[in-house]
């Protein structure tokens, strides 16, 4: 899985809002096709970093290259090759499943025939061809999340950013959701995911733990557990959080 091809390169990334430093000298690389977990308590600087990586916000200083494009000067190019799904709903409740697919397909510049073909594939893969003309608002939450993810990768982006994608979903659906993530990763799509669930962190190829705007740990889950002499990633996370309070 881990190839040497770096798809996201972050070096000495600093983001300040006035006197407040949200991201302090972040350094990490993400390799193509891996599932990269981005963890941290609320306020650790996760969202700020993701916004920069998605081209929504400009870094104060540092080097940020996403899929070969510079986050300073080419955010519009970055936007074309990434997918995004947020913790809150990314689909429109008052449009049908198919209309949502068509809308996002259209926004990402797919042709009409491509949209038709891919939406059929998508509905068949999720085994919900009969939900095609149902309003999003009328289908269960679990399905919405899976649909939102599938639509986020409809235009075959190089990287997909998932911001707490499984919030409020039952364990079985979370499991199914992760199967979708692995499937996309197998097709070569890089997954950049933030989560609150520490068991999900174990599913990632590599994880990066953020606290107080700094990278506190970076590596494969097993490695990190060894380094911190911990049973689970949960323990690793608490050790880091405790350190934080002492300083």
């Amino acid at each position: 899985m881990e190839s040497d091809r770096i798809i996201i390169e972050v070096k000495d990334l600093v983001k300040k809002f006035g006197w407040f430093v949200a991201n302090d000298q972040l350094c990490f690389n993400v390799y193509q096709g891996e599932v990269f977990g981005f963890l941290g308590a609320n306020g650790a600087g996760k969202t700020t970093a993701i916004r920069i990586l998605c081209g929504l916000s400009k870094p104060t200083s540092g080097r940020v290259i996403v899929a070969g494009f510079d986050a300073f000067s080419q955010p519009e190019k970055i936007k074309k090759v990434i997918g995004y799904m947020s913790q809150r709903f990314s689909l429109y409740d008052d449009l049908t499943v198919y209309e949502n697919i068509r809308l996002f397909g259209g926004i990402y510049g797919l042709t009409r025939s491509e949209i038709k073909k891919r939406s059929e594939e998508l509905l068949n893969r999720l085994e919900i061809p009969d939900l095609r003309d149902r309003l999003i608002g009328s289908i269960p939450l679990g399905w919405k999340q899976k649909l939102a993810f599938s639509i986020a990768v409809l235009h075959k982006p190089k990287i997909v950013f998932l911001d707490e994608p499984t919030g409020g979903v039952d364990p079985i659906t979370r499991r199914q959701f992760w199967e979708l993530i692995y499937e996309a990763s197998k097709q070569g799509i890089t997954i950049f995911v933030t989560t609150h669930y520490m068991d999900e962190a174990e599913y990632c190829d590599r994880i990066c733990i953020l606290a107080e705007g700094k990278v506190k740990a970076l590596g494969k889950p097993d490695q990190l557990k060894k380094t911190f002499n911990a049973e689970t990633i949960d323990d690793v996370f608490y050790q880091i959080a405790r350190e934080d309070k002492q300083t």
Partner: protein
């Protein structure tokens, strides 16, 4: 272009699926126009006035008859001396007192000049000036019909309802109502539609997409340009067929002015949506920052000339104030572009201003 069209299509779908909004969109203008038109016009009936007829001769009684047979006024009795007048006003039932000088007929026919005095309860200045207008109109007509000798001076009517010879109240209300409704619908609905996306979280997804912010704004606004324009035309047709309000001037000029005003209102809506983060805040902003000042300060109901000067200054920044002038000029006076270009320029300037600061605010939001 394809990206943009997919987006605009979605906006139309939002609107047409939301029946309640659609009902507000087309029901509110009709209801408001009828309410304002009828209530306010009909309101000017049965206004209580008292008469202090010191002459009690042939012409004075004829004049008093004229006034009470007009249907606008109710006879609240005679007043016999000046001291009674203030107590009449205090009772609230009498809004005006008509004083006729002694030997009215003799003066009128003999000297060719007779005096009447109209005293009004000016605690409601708008009503008072309307009463003066109506009474003067009746007196003027009385003089034309019943006083054949008074060619030169006769009873001098001080006020007259210019551009509204038939004393039709609805004429004055149609421009105001159009200005109010278009402003509300355009600004309220666009600001709600943008903030709804912020609240639900879909705005983030749109911003991450390759759609440029300017295109997102344009896509949001496009459907409302059509809807608001359709609305404006509905109001114009309704006022023509129900209230008989004429369009004396150029129809094309009128439609252009309508389009300009709609664009301005939409840009205000977009501006509000950059300020507000929830639909409720957007709604309150629209209602309190737009509807109240429009109703109270734009000259729609209360004449601007009667306001204290700080409020007169305040009214200068209200777009409806200028638009109402344009509408009255085109619809009632039949004036052309030579008369309204300055108001038009002010509206264009305001549009540019709001669009510019919206784009600036939108960018700041993106970059922080």
């Amino acid at each position: 272009m394809n990206r943009f069209l997919s987006f605009v299509k979605k906006e139309f779908q939002h609107i047409f699926r939301d029946r309640k909004t659609l009902l507000i969109l087309f029901g509110m203008p009709v209801a408001q126009l009828l309410i304002f038109g009828y209530v306010i016009t009909n309101d000017f009936r049965n206004i209580g006035i008292a008469v202090m007829d010191q002459a009690r001769d042939q012409k004075s009684e004829l004049l008093v008859n004229r006034i009470f047979s007009s249907g606008y006024f109710l006879n609240r009795g005679q007043v016999y001396n000046i001291d009674e007048i203030s107590s009449k006003f205090k009772s609230g039932k009498v809004k005006a007192v008509l004083v006729i000088e002694p030997s009215f007929t003799n003066n009128l026919i003999g000297k060719g000049e007779a005096r009447v005095q109209i005293l009004t309860d000016a605690s409601d200045p708008n009503l008072a000036s309307t009463i003066v207008g109506y009474l003067s109109g009746i007196i003027y007509k009385f003089q034309m019909d019943d006083v054949p000798f008074s060619e030169a001076r006769g009873i001098i009517a001080e006020t007259r309802m210019v551009y509204n010879e038939n004393l039709e109240g609805a004429f004055m209300f149609v421009p105001g109502t159009i200005a109010l409704i278009l402003m509300l619908i355009s600004a309220l609905l666009t600001s709600i539609s943008v903030t709804r996306e912020k609240e639900v979280g879909t705005m983030e997804v749109l911003l991450v997409s390759p759609l440029k912010p300017a295109l997102i704004i344009a896509g949001k606004v496009t459907p409302y340009v059509f809807l608001a324009f359709a609305n404006g035309i509905v109001i114009l047709l309704l006022s023509y067929f129900v209230f008989g309000v004429p369009v004396e001037g150029s129809l094309i000029l009128l439609l252009l002015a309508l389009l300009l005003y709609i664009t301005l209102s939409l840009s205000i809506g977009i501006f509000f949506s950059t300020l507000a983060s929830t639909q409720q805040v957007a709604m309150f902003l629209s209602l309190f920052a737009l509807m109240l000042p429009t109703v109270l300060l734009s000259g729609f109901i209360y004449p601007i000339e009667n306001m204290p000067w700080p409020l007169q200054w305040l009214s200068l920044i209200l777009p409806p104030r200028w638009f109402i002038v344009i509408l009255k000029d085109i619809m009632l006076k039949g004036n052309g572009i030579a008369y309204i270009w300055d108001e038009g320029l002010i509206l264009i300037g305001m549009t540019v201003f709001f669009i510019a600061i919206s784009i600036k605010k939108f960018k700041i939001r993106l970059e922080s």
